[in-house]
Symmetry: C2
Subunit: 403 residues, 2 copies
């Protein structure tokens, strides 16, 4: 019997992992700022990194380590409060020495350690603080991952975690994770980090493929403001402690399902927690010839300031949806297109149904919304992107002078 069921916990819900979150003084406030995740034995690891050409030092170091270790990970250390991005050679050195220091304590090779950072760009990361934090975190490791979820936060409204148990014909395994959102209340912070663990037994290459599959419709299908950061990182680790073997031929779909449920939950928590956000909006584009075309149109709509402000104001402004789809660069046939806001069709076959606007306005008073644009080209493909509304609060948050 197969199935995916929610269970409590986060990054330590899967067997074979311990984690800790401690304060190392990187954040001036004294809040938790170092998270450490350590599998009981080196785990299979896979990661996805930002596609921004400007990549923070921890991103380049972790990418290199994962290649060199061929997907073997003995520890992940994360700091918040400083992105260690645009920090030159010194930044590279700090990231490398952090991995080295943790490796000595854990008893592994430096390239079996992944590092991630989030916080202010262009500020040097104090190695001594990270090292002291790593020592403290080693002492605090436990199977309670709650502190780790808090320690990766920057200005998130709260910690983000989710875990599931996946039943397969071979037995059950678990997947759990933590994430931080693009909370930019302290300006120059713009990083999405997520760490997902599983006790499935799986090769790094298969884990990587499954993570890519899961991320495509979750982490890679959300947008708060269209800005991708220099530090974005999603890491998946698999301990094998469940004894359930996953390969391309066996239980692969179950692993993707488990990862997808956890990644979806974390991704939705990130969008809900977008700066100034009051509404979570699913933008579904259908009637496209390819998934890529549907994704492109959905992203264009989801990032349109006019759409995001209209949603914020509860304005069923279908003209803005049509105009955004029309400039997205994918085939669009106005004479057969359809716009639906919740259950209300406002435009179909080239004709407005403006009499329905008040009903759609009522629907927009909710805070979990679904909007559909059918491109009218008769294609079979669809894609959903999740976004949030754009409020005056967003401007206030992101316009404050940081020094």
């Amino acid at each position: 019997m197969s199935g995916v069921a929610d269970i409590p916990g986060g990054v330590t819900a899967a067997r074979g992992f311990r984690a800790a979150g401690v304060s190392a003084g990187i954040k001036a406030s004294g809040a938790l700022d170092i998270a450490l995740i350590v599998p009981d034995a080196p785990a299979a690891g896979a990661a996805l990194f930002t596609t921004n050409q400007v990549q923070a030092a921890p991103v380049t170091v972790s990418r290199r380590h994962l290649e060199r270790s061929e997907g073997r990970v003995a520890a992940v250390i994360v700091n918040s409060g400083c992105a260690n991005a645009c920090t030159g050679q010194n930044g590279q050195l700090v990231a490398e020495r952090t991995a080295h220091y943790v490796a000595e304590r854990v008893g592994c090779q430096p390239h079996e350690v992944l590092v991630a950072s989030t916080g202010v760009i262009g500020v040097d990361l104090a190695l001594a603080k990270v090292q002291a934090g790593a020592d403290r975190a080693m002492q605090a490791l436990s199977t309670d991952g709650a502190a780790a979820a808090r320690a990766i936060m920057t200005t998130d409204r709260g910690p983000k975690e989710h875990a599931v148990e996946v039943r397969t014909p071979d037995g059950a395994f678990r997947v759990g994770g933590i994430a931080k959102g693009a909370g930019m209340i302290e300006p120059m912070m713009a990083t999405m980090l997520a760490f997902v663990t599983s006790d499935a037994q799986v090769d790094p290459a298969v884990l990587h493929h499954a993570l890519e599959d899961a991320a495509a419709t979750t982490f890679n299908a959300i947008t708060v403001d269209g800005d991708s950061s220099t530090n974005d990182t999603v890491v998946a680790l698999a301990s094998g402690a469940s004894g359930v073997h996953v390969s391309k031929d066996r239980n692969y779909g179950d692993l993707v399902s488990g990862l997808r449920v956890v990644c979806h939950s974390l991704a939705m928590q990130i969008v809900r927690g977008g700066e100034g956000a009051t509404k979570l909006v699913a933008i579904r584009v259908s009637g496209a010839s390819t998934t890529d075309a549907a994704r492109q149109a959905a992203r264009t709509i989801a990032n349109s300031l006019l759409v995001k402000t209209a949603v914020h104001g509860g304005d069923p402004n279908w003209g803005r949806l049509v105009a955004a789809a029309g400039r997205s660069g994918v085939p669009f046939d106005l004479s057969r297109a359809l716009v639906r806001i919740g259950p209300v069709i406002l435009f179909r076959n080239g004709q407005p149904h403006d009499g329905e606007a008040p009903r759609a306005a009522d629907y927009l008073q909710g805070n979990e919304l679904e909007i559909e644009v059918n491109l009218g080209t008769g294609g079979p493909a669809s894609f959903t992107v999740w976004t949030c509304d754009l409020s005056a609060e967003y401007v206030r948050i992101n316009g404050e002078y940081r020094t």
Copy 2:
């Protein structure tokens, strides 16, 4: 002796044109809502239209008319208050009948009339009101173009016009124009319209080429919110009344110069008048291998919410500029990149100069700003895009429920 000098006036500053602006009751407020521009004899005409796949009825009709007449234009009629977009077959009919009605009054072929509309999308345009307005405008035609500049406004803060006299070895000719901005205070309005006249004597094909050249670095180099509309139209007319002949071989550069000065002025007026805008920002990208690459990076930076909110808040947040350039999809070398805010260099050769941030913050208190990002790839190309800041007022304006 060559030279371009500002002169008073707008769309009737060039000899051989009359214009009018009247109220036809399309706007509920009773404000001016029909503009008519009529050359003394059919003029050479050229036009650029929105690249949005969703095109309003007046756009498709004007495009067809200009092709059929081979660039001969006897009248341009514009209405504000209704975009006549997404209005199906009926919308096409109204645009065609408008042209037909004006042609009978002016005494020309219907395809020698161009039509343009701006206002609410998805609402039917009342033909009877347009016809009555056309009658009144015919009576009001004069060489004072001020009323026409007001009649094309939607929620612009004021009329936008500019005119110049261009001296050539063959004598002087004039170029003048009017424009309306993307004022979307009444939601679902999002149109840029501009009408430029000249008394140079020039073929439609040469005029079209000169208009494209001038628009590339003016109307096509501005952004308020990255949303292109269904109705955007720029029309140029040349009466020949100056007797100064322009061809590809003779005085062409002078015509482009004149058009460029007028289009630049109108474009800057549009950005300054962006909803909620308090600052005009020139985003200059240099060090690119091609102009296209520079343009793409500049547009990405100019449309970044994080950049626009930082500018609004006076925050010299160079990390956001670097991150936006890094995700723009063009080659970028962080180790040789440079970021300059006004006179202050904040990042060079991979190293932050954060000590300079307070000086840059002082500079950002101004309301005409220049920001430069050198991509560090050593290329010779650069491009400047003009944008405005993003304020809470923008959100308020665009979030109000329209019904």
